[in-house]
């Protein structure tokens, strides 16, 4: 378990002070894939660097597996860092070393004997699926392969925690998915706790079970991924959630529909898991005298279940519509009225 309390980082510049990370407190459980999302400049990159003290915290405490990181001496910190793997947006491989030699680097740092090193490197190459590329130099590898080397290197000393600093941001969508699958796979296989920061909600949706949203150095919202997806509270969170659960720019189409003769209410319904399989809409149509227009629907798979979103237009008598909405509210997770022109 990782527990972070009142973590703060202030940069002292010549004329001003910049608070990059402002009083963050988080609990991360063992085996979690914990996502931190935010726009660029939100302080998430600084935050992840504070965890292994690549940046020195100004205040606060970080306890990893009961070990307080902020008070370690330089020598103790070097040893502690061997238990914390890290992967980077730009991979940061040594171009002068082959795949196998890059993976061997942290083992050399940990002073593992040569013959054991060779065996361990082979295991890691098998784990990340780089067989046949052992003797290639980074310049001969694709972006996805480079990140696989990065992951193998980060896992070499059997860390308990893996920090991912925008690990998929430089990759194309297909490669991103392949790398995310690999991270999910090692999380399950090795019981590794993963803390990843990203600006892509897709990454959170695909592999995280918990998420924190950062803005201006602070965590503005956090919780289970399903909870945050179905019930985002903060505006920034809503924007991020909209990226994956509904099509962006659908405002115009809503306006178009409302400008037609037939007014009514447009509501967005969120379902979780089994509710997505229940025939809520046909029940509503049977029970209430309303007409239902289905405008848009989407199912989003997260690791904790399926999240469904359905945008419908309800037409009819005001009371009937309101009763229908109450009925939907009781059956599903969340109902949001997005246009009301009765």
């Amino acid at each position: 378990m990782i527990s972070i309390n009142g973590l703060k980082k202030v940069y002292h510049l010549v004329k001003e002070e910049i608070t990059a990370v402002d009083d963050i407190s988080l609990q991360i459980n063992e085996g979690d894939i914990f996502g931190v999302i935010g726009y660029s400049g939100a302080g998430k990159s600084t935050f992840v660097r504070l965890l292994n003290r690549l940046e020195e915290p100004t205040a606060g405490s970080i306890s990893m597996q009961g070990k307080e990181m902020t008070t370690l001496s330089n020598k103790e910190l070097r040893v502690a860092r061997q238990d914390i793997g890290m992967i980077f947006q730009h991979f940061n491989l040594l171009w002068s070393r082959t795949t196998a030699e890059n993976i061997a680097f942290p083992l050399e740092v940990a002073k593992m004997p040569k013959n054991e090193r060779k065996k361990r490197v082979q295991e890691l190459i098998d784990l990340v699926g780089l067989n046949g590329r052992e003797h290639a130099y980074p310049s001969q590898l694709s972006g996805g392969q480079k990140q696989r080397v990065g992951i193998a290197r980060a896992l070499a000393n059997n860390p308990k925690v893996l920090l991912c600093d925008e690990a998929t941001s430089a990759l194309d969508p297909d490669t991103t998915n392949a790398i995310l699958d690999l991270l999910l796979d090692i999380n399950k296989k090795l019981g590794l706790t993963i803390i990843l920061i990203t600006h892509e909600m897709h990454v959170i949706r695909k592999i995280c079970n918990r998420v924190a949203v950062m803005e201006a150095g602070s965590v503005i919202e956090q919780g289970d991924v399903m909870e945050v997806f179905t019930n985002p509270k903060h505006d920034v969170t809503k924007k991020f959630v909209d990226q994956v659960v509904s099509e962006a720019d659908d405002d115009e189409s809503m306006d178009y529909i409302m400008n037609l003769e037939n007014k009514g209410k447009i509501v967005r319904v969120h379902f979780i898991g089994d509710a997505a399989n229940e025939a809520v809409i046909s029940d509503v149509a049977k029970k209430f005298s309303v007409t239902i227009n289905i405008l848009q629907g989407k199912l989003t798979q997260t690791i904790s279940g399926v999240l469904g979103t359905l945008t419908i237009q309800l037409q009819g008598e005001k009371e009937a519509i309101n009763e229908a909405i109450t009925f939907i509210e009781n059956t599903t997770e969340e109902v949001e009225v997005i246009r009301d022109e009765l």
Binding site: R81, I84, M86, W95, S96
Partner: protein, 221 residues
């Protein structure tokens, strides 16, 4: 002017060539080591460096700048007492070495510093995140990752040093410069000057080719 290659004393030319090689190789080797040490010191103690230290940085930078600014011919003269103390004489190829090394190392140190600055900061950060000590970062990251630039740099420096050996020769250090000046120029024996020049140019070519091939071979980017 008449050229008569048959009258040239080839044994003397050969001895002078060996002396030039001797001075060049030893001074290049020493400059390589001393230059890397100074360059590392400049890089590491710089602002936001891995071993930030204003005082050491200032002292190193001053040393490098001062010795790089002194014209080589004057540097040799200034170093006469030092050379006499270290080598025991101020004549011959050995006596040229202190001046060659002290003239070459600061020049190379700046090239080393530039080469080290080109090393990706992210790679250094990655090594730190694995718990690597400063010593390991130097020997396993900084030097291997900057090696092609270090080799190109020492090639440029070696060629400058070959030029310096000729200059040192003119005031008594031996080698092809010495032979061209005393046996050639002062006796109006232009054929000797020509032969010495051709050999020096050839030596420069050899160093350039070896340097280029080595740098290319180890560059896996």
């Amino acid at each position: 002017m008449n050229f008569d290659l048959a009258s040239i004393d080839w044994v003397k030319i050969w001895e002078a060539t060996i002396e030039t090689f001797y001075m060049t190789l030893i001074s290049v080797a020493a400059t390589f080591i001393l230059g890397i040490l100074l360059g590392l010191l400049l890089y590491l103690t710089d602002k936001n460096g891995l071993w930030q230290n204003k005082i050491i940085n200032f002292i190193t930078a001053t040393f490098v700048n001062v010795f790089r600014a002194i014209p080589f011919i004057i540097l040799i003269l200034l170093l006469f007492p030092f050379t006499d103390f270290i080598v025991g004489t101020i004549r011959g190829p050995k006596a040229a070495l202190p001046a060659l090394i002290i003239g070459g190392a600061p020049f190379y140190a700046r090239l080393v510093e530039i080469a080290l600055k080109e090393v990706d900061k992210g790679v250094v950060e990655a090594a730190q995140s694995m718990g690597a000590s400063l010593q390991r970062i130097i020997f396993k990251v900084l030097l291997p990752e900057s090696m092609p630039a270090l080799i190109s740099g020492i090639t440029v420096t070696a060629i400058a040093l070959i030029g310096y050996t000729a200059m040192a020769g003119a005031i008594g250090a031996g080698g092809l410069g010495n032979y061209a000046y005393y046996a050639g120029f002062q006796r109006r024996a232009w054929d000797i000057v020509l032969v010495c020049t051709v050999i020096i140019v050839f030596i420069v070519f050899i160093f350039q080719v070896i340097g280029d091939l080595t740098a290319k071979r180890i560059d896996k980017r």
